[in-house]
Amino acid sequence: MIYEKKTDWYTTSSNLNGQKRGRMTVFLGVSAGAGKTYAMLDAARERLAEGVDVVVGWVDTYGRMETEALLKGLPALARRRLVYRDKEFEEIDLNAILDRRPALVLVGNLAHNNIPGSRHTHRYQDVEELLAAGVNVYTTINIQHIETLNDIVTRITGVAVKETVPDKFLESAFQIQLVDIPPEELIQRLKDGKVYVPGQDEEALRRFYRPGNINALRELALRYTAKRVGHTLETYMEDHRIEGPWPTGDRIMVCVSPSPFSAQLIRMAKRTAEGMKAEWLAVYVETPRRFPPNEAERDLLARNLQLAVDLGAETITLTGNDIAGELLELAKKRNVSQILIGKSLHTAFWEWTRSSVADNLTHRSSGVGIYVIPNKPKPEKQKKLHFPTLRIPLINYLLPLMTMALVTILAGLVYPYVGLANVAMLLILPILFSAVKWGTGPAVAAAVVCSLTFDYFYIPPVLGFIPADLPYLLSLVVFIIVALLTGTLSGRLQQQVISSRQRETRMAALYSLSRDIAAVSEINPAMEIVARRISETTDSQVAVLLLDQSGKLELRAGASSQDFLNDSELAAAEWSFENGEIAGRGTETLSSAVGLYVPLRTEQYSQGVLGIKLESKEQRLQLEQRRLLEAFANLTSLLVTRIKLAELARESHLVAESERLRTALFDSLSHDLRTPLASIIGAVTSLLEGEGFFSPEASYDLLQTIKQGALRMNRFVGNLLDMAELESGLIRLNKDWCDIREIIGVAVRDMKDLLRDRPLRVKVSPDLPLVKVDFVVLEQVLVNLLDNAIKYSDTGSEICISASYDNKQVKITVTDNGQGIPTGDLDHVFDKFYRLKSPRQVSGTGLGLAICKGLIETHEGSIWASNNPSGGLDVSFILPLGEAVPNNPSCIYGEENNDH
């Protein structure tokens, strides 16, 4: 029995004024005799002990000793007496209670119908009035009296109940206290005469109080209470803004088997789990059987487990001989409260000979609810699965007969020497042979023929059948048994060989596909490979349809619309994609389609559809083929996922890179623009405010400062513009024939202020040809390189520009005599905003070399940096010579003779 623990609701309630509605506690029992009244009185006594003003309004004790003993200590109000149809009845005295206004009143048997002439027709209406008046009520009710459950109880017990209480009223109860009792105890109490139900004869009672009935009622009561608890929990969570669901710790387990019914069971488990907001497990126990499950079984099992995963279950596969034991072990470990298991309905004989897992489970479980769901086998449903059927051609029957004839002749030859028993042995041989070679059917045929032959040729009278031969029918039976056994065994073996061969083929195909796609990182070539591979393996036309940006299916590789993908085919593909199921020809869905469509999906995403037009004429897709295609589809969707994830990673890397550049740009802008501006503004304001105060020399210095600052800003802005132009791809080269010497000359002229105190050496091959480049761009490169060389080497040290060429390219190098740079940084100096972390305070934008690289690359040249042996840095670039230098106008050289 469940007793209410001390609650504090009562005291809080009693402090409130009378206008506040009272609270009702309902003691819910399975049936009469469950101990509701006892529980109620017990609780009331506790309240009384706590000092609460408790009054008994109405309690039936039916003369039960324990109950009456409890009632004795409680103050009771007199009952109201009524006369109806010359009979005296007692009813609850509502007015007396209302006058007395206790804190808590006990009113038993809530479902009672009042005698006509009372204020209300039903007792629950009396209670309602009490509650409305602010009186708290303890009351009792049996599960069968709850209105909506009434029907179910009647169906279970066969006993109709007229007195009911509306659910709505019960829902208003503050608390429902379940008073549970095990069926054995209840039945014992009935036998002991402790249960009294008015108006029921003994026979009816015995019919009612059966363990099955009681258990069913218990479940009903438990469920009713559980639902209410769930509801209370929800209300509480809503009131306290707690985000659910709260783990109740309950788990439901469903046992999965390779049967079509299992899917139904899984769905049922999902519904139950949802209702209970519980987690659920789908469990399959693998037993080491004599024969492995066949292909169809394995397929179904995989499907069932996948269904469970799709519906949100955790799937577990166990291995063991004792299925029930394994299941219960896991249930205990994972705190499973309910186990759902299916059970096929078989004949009584079948039941008698072997116990089902479900029965086993029921017997051995304790504390775990076992729900056995019966299943009537539906043969027509199973027929829908298509197994490769081995059709035995007629020749397979003829050959054993011919073998038979041969052996018979042979036996006839040796019969005189070996005797009848050995001939019989000899005749078994063709049966065995036929069984192994051609299967069960031909073997049985051989057996029949064999026994007839044996009788006809060897049992006297030879060449005749007589009734006396009947005992020899035994040989026929033995022969047939031999044929059946051997045939079945070898059939199984053959089946296994075939299936393992098929598996091998499939593995090989999958392996080669996965090897092909391992290194592919682009989606289109990958899909091409997939389409080609599958096409080769299955001898079919293959189309890969993937989801495009706008969420529509788009043909990415393989067959075209001319081949088979017309609008109706696309609709089939669409269906397959949306439902995540295989569809099209050879399946049960849209089987009129020409192609077969397998969805490409991983756990998170649906990515597309694989469309296959098989060349074979068969209407039905072979299971093996289907599994292979599904494996291909799996592999393909994994591939797509991989590529997509890689793309995402690349993109996010790019975003991070551009983010870094942006930050660098802003740093650079604020630093490189503000520094010269600060010097300019400082110098200008000095001059403006200190008019006539500075000496001519000081003024000149300030003006020089302004000039330098402005020039520096100009360079920086120029760099930024160059960079922007390069990056936007807007740069247009004005390539024309140029003399490298001339470009160097102009660059040096531009830099003459900065090169003032620098020895400059220019080494140019004397016969350096003209090159077709953009003069301005190349000059810019040289200016930047010179600027760089000046910045990173000491004042007074030499700078060298050299230019040389071979028959393919021109190489130009700018060399300084500075410190060089660490080897690891050599590659990075051409990165944007990259600055050496050198102790030298060098003002630079970090753009100069990056621009050089960009400009040189627009010329299809390359640029690199290296440390030279003398310690300085070499920055070199090469430019392809490209087209041949045109012949100079002949007049040039011809003219030399006509000199003035």
């Binding site: 402005a710 004005n734 010497r741 160097i744 000359g745 003209l770 003069f775």
Partner: protein, 227 residues
């Protein structure tokens, strides 16, 4: 050559540039007027009658090139273009459309003054003297005779033509196209290769250091000028 009060019209939409040029050029004795738009500028050319126009290529209303083409239809006033780096093609267009010279922003005042003087001198058309002198370089047009440091140099007819056209437009930038047309009579209009070769040869003959020429100055991407 330059008389005091020579009128210069500055057409630039930026007030800072107009104010700067007004102050700086007035300081050098020029009479300067500013115009903020191309239309105002064209009106002012009629009203103010400038002897030289400084024209910004990037104007808000009319493109500087349009202003130039418009005024060239009825006026031969020397025009110096103000441009920014990267507008080499615009510069070439402007020069071919009749501009006399260009300066690139930002520019030094000394550079601008030199261009103004050269343009004014050229416009004055005083150079019908038979002998042109550029420091150590002397070109005797009548005798087709070139000396460097008073020593005669051997020079081919094409080189001479090239040098002559540069010398006659001394101080003024001549575009590649202009030079090629003038020297090769359009035969090799697009053959800058020959031009580069002849410039190189000329430099070797007349420059003391051909790597850092003092006479034949390269205007990157545009052309050459002789100083």
């Amino acid at each position: 050559m330059i008389t005091k009060g020579t009128r210069i019209l500055v057409i630039d939409d930026e007030i800072e540039i107009r104010r700067l040029l007004k102050v700086a050029l007035s300081g050098h004795g020029f009479d300067v007027k500013g115009a903020a738009t191309g239309r105002d500028g064209l009106d002012d050319i009629i009203a103010f009658k400038p002897e030289l126009v400084i024209l910004d290529l990037g104007l808000p209303d009319l493109n500087g090139l349009e202003v130039l083409k418009n005024l060239r239809e009825w006026s031969g006033v020397p025009v110096i273009i103000l441009s920014v780096k990267g507008q080499e093609n615009d510069k070439i267009f402007a020069l071919d459309a009749g501009a006399d010279d260009y300066v690139t922003k930002p520019f030094g005042m000394g550079e601008l003054l030199a261009r103004i003087r050269a343009a004014l001198r050229h416009a004055a058309g005083t150079e019908d003297e038979p002998v042109l002198v550029f420091d150590d370089l002397t070109i005797d047009l009548a005798r087709r005779y070139v000396t460097v440091n008073s020593r005669e140099i051997r020079i081919t007819p094409t080189e001479y033509e090239l040098l002559k056209i540069l010398a006659l437009n001394a101080g003024k930038v001549l575009t590649h196209r202009h030079l090629i047309r003038a020297v090769w009579k359009m035969t090799y209009e697009y053959d800058t290769h020959s031009l580069r070769v002849y410039i190189g040869q000329l430099r070797r003959k007349i420059e003391s250091d051909p790597s850092y020429p003092r006479h034949i100055i390269t205007e990157p991407g545009v052309g050459y000028r002789l100083l």
